[in-house]
């Protein structure tokens, strides 16, 4: 365990969120499903971090684990989440509820189910405000809610505030969800596939909205997506997740130019481009994500890997985090540092290989 190893957390720390060795499991009849298997990363103030991976790679479990909202009987087994220097992963529900929505918020994938169908939209926005600002009066709360709806682009908010969710479209409901998440000016916003359930035009609008609001509120954003293109537009840095682990961390321009991990390369290869002909078909990564019940002895990606398949070292040894450049790394036996890049300057090196 690395829990208290991060001695250097002075007030001037630029890191708003720090996740160390996070492990989350869901007990099943067959045993513990390890949704997260030792995830660590830092998030700087105002940073935009992308998290990319296939379904089942642990992206959403990561979001819920950070928020302290892992559905029972699942639970965080090990690791710490530090927000503004406070170890929120050790907070109970009561104490954590004062952090949620105020310092850290989340927007979920499906806006159609995110709002209570029998409660007015305004009441739900007001609820988000009132729980953290109990002293605000009714009129003030309503005024703030109208402002919030207006800021996320709801037309005619004075009237629409009294509508029910079914009178809103999917895109509008996602705007409301964003308004609720940003109601108390949190330092961190986790957006868990916020555009996946929406059509393409609405997707673009929601992304633009997130971008604008993040700038205005100076909010750091963790954007979870399976869409590499979206992440490349939006984020500064990206984590690639596979089988509950971060297998590559890289700055956004690099990850497209020179992906270091074979999984990242395969993900990039799976993006359909306008140049590819119909006869080629859609490229896919062969095989399916690994069984999280029985963690692989070696590299979890080995059975599907074009590079390592069958190689002795890949089957038997867990790949170390190989520093690539700066803070970037890849968990692959064959990854090599990029030439001419300063590697040792990375503050993360010492914490990297622990936690598994």
């Amino acid at each position: 365990m690395i829990v208290e190893s991060s001695v250097s957390t002075p007030e001037s720390d630029d890191r708003v969120l720090r996740v160390e060795g996070l492990r989350t499991g869901f007990p099943t009849r067959e045993g513990m499903v390890n949704a997260l298997d030792g995830v660590s990363f830092d998030l700087a103030r105002r940073e935009r971090l992308g998290i990319v991976g296939e379904s089942g790679s642990g992206k959403s479990s990561l979001a819920l684990s950070i928020m302290g909202l892992v559905p029972r009987p699942g639970r965080v087994l090990a690791g710490t989440v530090t927000l503004n220097g406070r170890p929120i992963s050790r907070f109970g529900d009561e104490r954590m509820s004062r952090v949620r929505g105020r310092q850290i918020s989340i927007v979920f994938q499906d806006p159609l189910t995110a709002l209570n169908p029998v409660m007015k939209v305004g009441a739900q926005v007001i609820e988000a405000l009132r729980v953290h600002q109990p002293r605000l009066g009714r009129a003030a709360l309503r005024r703030r809610a109208v402002e919030l709806l207006d800021s996320v682009g709801i037309v005619n908010p004075q009237r629409r505030i009294d509508d029910y969710p079914h009178q809103y479209s999917g895109g509008m409901r996602q705007r409301v969800a964003i308004a609720m998440a940003l109601a108390n000016d949190p330092d961190v916003l986790i957006a868990d596939e916020p555009t996946t359930a929406l059509d393409a035009t609405t997707q673009a609008e929601i992304v633009a909205l997130l971008q604008r609001l993040a700038d205005e509120h100076e909010t750091a954003i963790v954007l979870i997506s399976h869409n590499l293109a979206l992440v490349s537009e939006f984020c500064d840095r990206v984590l690639i997740m596979y089988a509950g682990r971060v297998v590559e961390q890289a700055d956004v321009p690099d990850v497209f130019r020179e992906p270091a991990h074979p999984y990242t390369q395969a993900l990039l290869g799976a993006i359909p481009t306008s140049g590819s002909s119909r006869e080629d078909g859609l490229a896919a990564i062969p095989g399916s994500p690994p069984n999280l019940l029985k963690p692989a002895e070696g590299c979890p990606f080995e059975p599907r890997c074009a590079l390592g398949q069958g190689k002795e070292i890949c089957r038997t040894a867990k790949p170390p985090a190989v520093p690539i450049a700066g803070a970037s790394f890849a968990e692959c036996h064959f990854a090599r540092p990029r030439h001419g890049a300063g590697v040792s300057a990375s503050p993360r090196d010492e914490t990297r290989t622990v936690g598994s």
Binding site: L69, S97, S105, F108, T113, L115, P117, H166, M180
Partner: protein, 339 residues
């Protein structure tokens, strides 16, 4: 909203009309001449004819139906030969006993079902859940009159904790002056605490026996609804806004899970307020159910007709009330009814 109420009231009127036709026709196609039952087997043809005329049985069916409806609406529900007084008078004096039993049983069933469903679904307590499910299942399967007998045997016969089947009050206790007809409420209004205590002691066992089935039904319904709602994303969203787990559950899961139970409650309340014949018989409860059974065996058709009409009204009104309430609570219903 107004439109919803108007729609519901006209549906209710149509349902009562249908019930009235059934009540009217059934009694006239069943074998046995009610006039003959009254005058006796030895009466002359002339006497019989006169009795038939007095009861309007020589009129056309249409006239008979019209008279039946007009007098029903005017509260003139005919004369009960088995009771020797007017149907309205007899039912009027027995209805409060039935209502008191039915309403308390309903409230108990609903509250108990809600509390039990909450306990087992909030944070999913597995053992408690299994126990409660077994109990609810048993409650549904046990005939209420049998449960009543069992309760009497245990709490009255063996433990001597509660009175036996002696009706609403002990022999020594005078009924309180009538205000609502509910002995518990009337006794409190008159400040007669001893009478109140006696009435409560007499209510406990029949209410328990009567509440078992609705409890089992409502518990299963509420439990299933709560489990479903507690998986809803909006509950997670509510918690992510900063509500504690319990507050989110109370504000967002509980009301939404209770909505479908409302509909079921409407049906059940209708059932409970017209009473349970067998439970009333077991406890010697001077209610409507007991009276109607006697009337049926004696072909006292004025009583049966009135009873059918009254139960139809009870069902329809309870359901209409639930529908309107539903519309008040759930905005989606309002929209679809107005569309």
């Amino acid at each position: 909203m107004l439109r919803l109420i108007v729609t519901r009231i006209s549906t209710a009127a149509a349902a009562i009309f249908g019930a009235s036709i059934l009540a009217f026709i059934f009694l006239r196609v069943t074998p046995g001449d009610p006039a003959r039952l009254i005058v006796g087997p030895l009466a002359s043809a002339k006497t019989l004819e006169a009795q038939r005329h007095a009861m309007g049985l020589d009129q056309s069916l249409w006239t008979q139906y019209r008279d039946f409806i007009t007098s029903f609406i005017h509260g003139d529900w005919g004369f009960s030969y088995s009771a020797g007084r007017s149907v309205a008078g007899e039912i009027g004096s027995r209805l409060p006993a039935t209502l008191e039993l039915g309403l308390y049983a309903f409230v108990l069933a609903f509250v108990a079902a809600l509390v039990a469903a909450l306990l087992v679904t909030y944070r999913r307590r597995k053992e408690a859940d299994n126990a409660a499910r077994l109990f609810a299942f048993t409650a549904l399967g046990v005939p209420p009159f049998w449960a009543g007998l069992l309760l009497l045997l245990i709490f009255s016969e063996h433990l001597h904790l509660l009175p036996g089947p002696e009706g609403r009050l002990s022999l020594a206790t005078q009924p309180p002056g009538k205000i609502t007809g509910f002995y518990t409420i009337d006794a409190l209004l008159h400040g007669q605490l001893a009478t109140f205590a006696d009435a409560v002691r007499h209510l406990i066992l029949p209410v328990l026996a009567f509440a078992l089935v609705p409890f089992g039904y409502l518990f299963r319904l509420l439990r299933a609804n709560l489990l479903e709602v507690s998986r809803e994303q909006y509950l997670l969203v509510a918690r992510s806004k900063g509500l504690t787990e319990w507050t989110a559950f109370r504000r967002h899961a509980l009301p939404n899970a209770c909505l479908p139970a409302l509909t079921a409650s409407g049906l059940m309340l209708g059932q409970l307020i017209i009473g349970s014949v067998l439970v009333e018989t077991v406890f010697n409860w001077p209610g409507v159910g007991e009276y109607v059974v006697t009337a049926i065996t004696r072909q006292d058709y004025a009583v049966v007709q009135t009873f059918v009409m009254l139960s139809a009204c009870a069902f329809v009104l309870a359901n209409a009330a639930v529908d309107v309430l539903y519309g008040v609570i759930d905005p989606r219903v309002r929209v679809s009814a107005a569309a």
